[in-house]
């Protein structure tokens, strides 16, 4: 399965307790116990994944719909956000 077909999901146990104030999102991480300050893009991806697993392409489409962003920046931003959120144990790839 190629990278474009990899499906992403919320890590089990994440309930996405968060608040959005003035364009900033403060989110509680149920697995690490940390509290994160996220930008708009990060919380959009997490909320999309709350609906169910999704491919990178589908998640990029979510960002495209929300933000005025060109194709190169979209590709870069999607990859960075997925890496960051995975590093924080908020999301992961499905095993199969």
């Amino acid at each position: 399965m190629g990278a474009s077909e990899t499906r992403w999901c919320l890590r089990p146990g994440q309930h996405l307790a968060y608040r959005q104030w003035d364009g900033k999102c403060v989110l509680y991480n149920d697995l690490s116990g940390d509290t994160h300050l996220l930008g708009d893009g990060g919380i959009e991806l997490l909320l999309a994944l709350r609906q169910g697993p999704a491919t990178r392409q589908a998640l990029a489409a979510v960002l495209q719909a929300e933000f005025d962003i060109d194709a190169d920046a979209l590709e870069r931003e999607t990859g960075t956000l997925l890496d960051d959120l995975q590093h924080l144990y908020l999301i992961d790839t499905l095993a199969c």
């Binding site: 309930h15 307790a17 608040r19 104030w21 003035d22 900033k24 999102c25 403060v26 509680y28 149920d30 116990g33 509290t35 300050l37």
Partner: protein, 314 residues
């Protein structure tokens, strides 16, 4: 027909004890006293402890020897040569001695610090922030700040200019309803603040200053009796004000974005991480409910005027 009004006896207070009765309780079964949601049983035969309690705790409810106490604390003279040469005092909680002994003259401040420690390390039913809290018309202002920021000085001035004291040290948020519970105990003043408040508050009742403590010279200001009498009344959080005293600074109040305020309050929490998701929900609720500000001041009268003009957040 005669109808009898229900008899409700006023609760006994520490002031109902004579000095000899107070000393006998402290040296014997313990003095059991209620401060807000907490009950402490205090044991000590050291005169400075009785002095401080007699001066500052007269208005607090006095409980019996058989009543439940959250904290069983002692201020005692450790053994050894120090008993005769430079006498010392040590603090214990349920037999645990968490701190190094201090000079005996520091006994009353050590009691105050020890009681703060008991609450901040054990009362995890509440989200606890290192902050002063004052209330007016049911709305509370929370003043989180590190030592040296002028928090207690400002708090002492406010509670003698129309605000009710909830605490000068601990903001206790109840996770169930987000309200603030009072723990109105004496206000800890340090160094120059002692004279500032003695001059600012007519008739201020202060414990004898104790010098050469780890915090410099300290004295404790008696909590207003009206605040002690209302220790059962919680308050709704309305303002978060980060105070900063700066000599000569112009008074200024600047709004802080909520996300930044969240992390700054969390930085001043004793148990935010310990409480997990409940701590997040409680603090987020407080940030939702409050307007948050940075506040700089050098003149107490101007500071009081700024607080008087705070508008209830919508």
């Amino acid at each position: 027909m005669l109808t009898a009004a229900p008899l409700t006896a006023a609760p006994l207070t520490v002031a109902s004890l004579s000095r000899s009765q107070l000393e006998a309780r402290l040296a014997g079964p313990g003095l059991t006293v209620r401060t807000g949601p907490f009950t402490s049983r205090i044991h000590s035969a050291i005169p400075q402890v009785a002095d401080g309690i007699e001066l500052l705790y007269g208005a607090y409810p006095l409980l019996g020897d058989g009543d439940f106490a959250d904290f069983h604390v002692g201020l005692r003279r450790p053994g050894g040569l120090h008993r005769w040469y430079k006498p010392q005092v040590s603090f214990d909680l349920d037999g645990l001695v968490p701190f190094e002994p201090l000079p005996e003259a520091h006994a009353f401040p050590m009691l105050e610090w020890g009681l703060n420690w008991c609450i901040s390390t054990r009362a995890h039913a509440y989200l606890m922030i290192h902050a002063a809290v004052v209330e007016r018309d049911g709305l509370a202002a929370i003043l989180p700040a590190p030592p040296g920021s002028g928090k207690s000085t400002l708090c002492a001035a406010l509670v003698h200019r129309g605000w009710r004291l909830l605490s000068d040290e601990l903001a206790l948020f109840c996770p169930r309803d987000g309200r603030l519970l009072p723990v109105p105990r004496p206000v800890s003043l340090k160094n120059r603040s002692i004279e500032v408040i003695r001059d600012y508050v007519a008739g201020a009742v202060l414990s004898a200053p104790v010098s050469n403590t780890t915090k410099g010279t300290v004295a404790h200001l008696k909590a207003p009796p009206a605040s002690v009498a209302r220790a059962g009344e919680s308050a709704r959080p309305a303002w978060i004000v980060f105070p900063k005293y700066e000599a000569g600074a112009a008074t200024s109040l600047e709004a802080i974005p909520r996300a930044r305020a969240f992390f700054r309050v969390a930085d001043n929490a004793f148990n935010y991480s310990h409480m997990g998701a409940s701590g997040f929900a409680t603090l987020a609720g407080a940030i939702d409910a409050c307007a948050s500000y940075d506040f700089r001041y050098s003149e107490l009268d101007e500071a009081i005027a700024v607080f008087a003009a705070l508008e209830a957040p919508r």
